[in-house]
Symmetry: C2
Amino acid sequence: MNVVLMVSEGQTEALGVGEEYLAKQSLGWVVTQYKMAIDRMPKVGEKVTVATRATSYNRYFAFREFWLTDATGKECVHVDSIWVVMDRNTRKMISIPEDVIAPFDAEVVKMIPRLGRPMRLAADEQLMEKQYRVRYFDIDQNGHVNNAHYFDWLLDALPMSFLSRHRLVALNIRFENEVQYHNDVISQAALVTDNQEPIITKHRIKMPDGEVATEAECHWQPVAKQI
Amino acid sequence: MNVVLMVSEGQTEALGVGEEYLAKQSLGWVVTQYKMAIDRMPKVGEKVTVATRATSYNRYFAFREFWLTDATGKECVHVDSIWVVMDRNTRKMISIPEDVIAPFDAEVVKMIPRLGRPMRLAADEQLMEKQYRVRYFDIDQNGHVNNAHYFDWLLDALPMSFLSRHRLVALNIRFENEVQYHNDVISQAALVTDNQEPIITKHRIKMPDGEVATEAECHWQPVAKQI
């Protein structure tokens, strides 16, 4: 995810509307949802290509795709994502300014593709949970938690016996509220079913006040024991 | 550190004595100490070269160097390290087998360079401390905690106000005892002095039973506030 995000940062900068350009207007792109399909993970030492496209947008939402291909051109991972522009002063979403989006040549649409809502944990569900404290190196230069760390929290809530025997094949994650430095967060997870494929786990990251920071749904396939 | 370690793994494999070769004999290389000098950290997007050399060894210890250079050939980071060979069955250090070390053409020496012991936290010292639990994604395929995570634990014990105003220029870290999955570790730190340069912090990672896993000493230089 870090590499994937660097590719879109590279594109916004190459088009002259990078982080610095937005920061001058006290604006920033914020991701609200990722939906990933993982055909296979790249191997250590493998050369892969990460590409991105600002596919379409409407007044408030921009739809961006990423894909990771191997040396033969075969797609290994595909990521759909939804982004909004935030006013850094009010911390509120604003309509996407024309100058910020125009250089991407994205299609103007009425509705951007819906990525679907992750399945939700029910109130009476049997939960696995672990607590995490945001660390200094989890935050980026704007003081926000790097998205990649949410994945660690989400997945680490599952037991080792599960993680070592399953391979993540799909992930749908929706960011609701921002986590801040030194917050304690609780990562909760529940297994929906393990007698049919794909195996599904539901996830939630909660803030100290009980507010939901993130919801996610993961799909898994069993693998031979790896660890 | 992840990239640096991949370079030495690449070398051991290229010489036919990689992890797989050692694993067949139930052996493994284990690092006991790193001493890093950081002239400057690479920038985002910068192309750097990481090189390594198995410099010298004696019966029990191998001395390996790493250096990271920029496009002009200038060295940005230099790492000295000391390694031993462990028998995976007994978890004990053994004398370095000839077949494992010969391909590196390293110099046989009586004494490998001493990297010095990190300054030690005193019993009565005013400590900053934070607790961490080893996460699933902290461990490698052998079930060991990836070295890079020790650095996170060590440095995150310092307050944000310090970390955001200082730049790490040197680090001496000694690994004493292995941390296992799901251990709780306590990362302790103390400021030696902040009225002279370099500013020095002393660090210790303790296991649940009080045993010391790691000791480290960090040198810092003040920088303009970054965050």
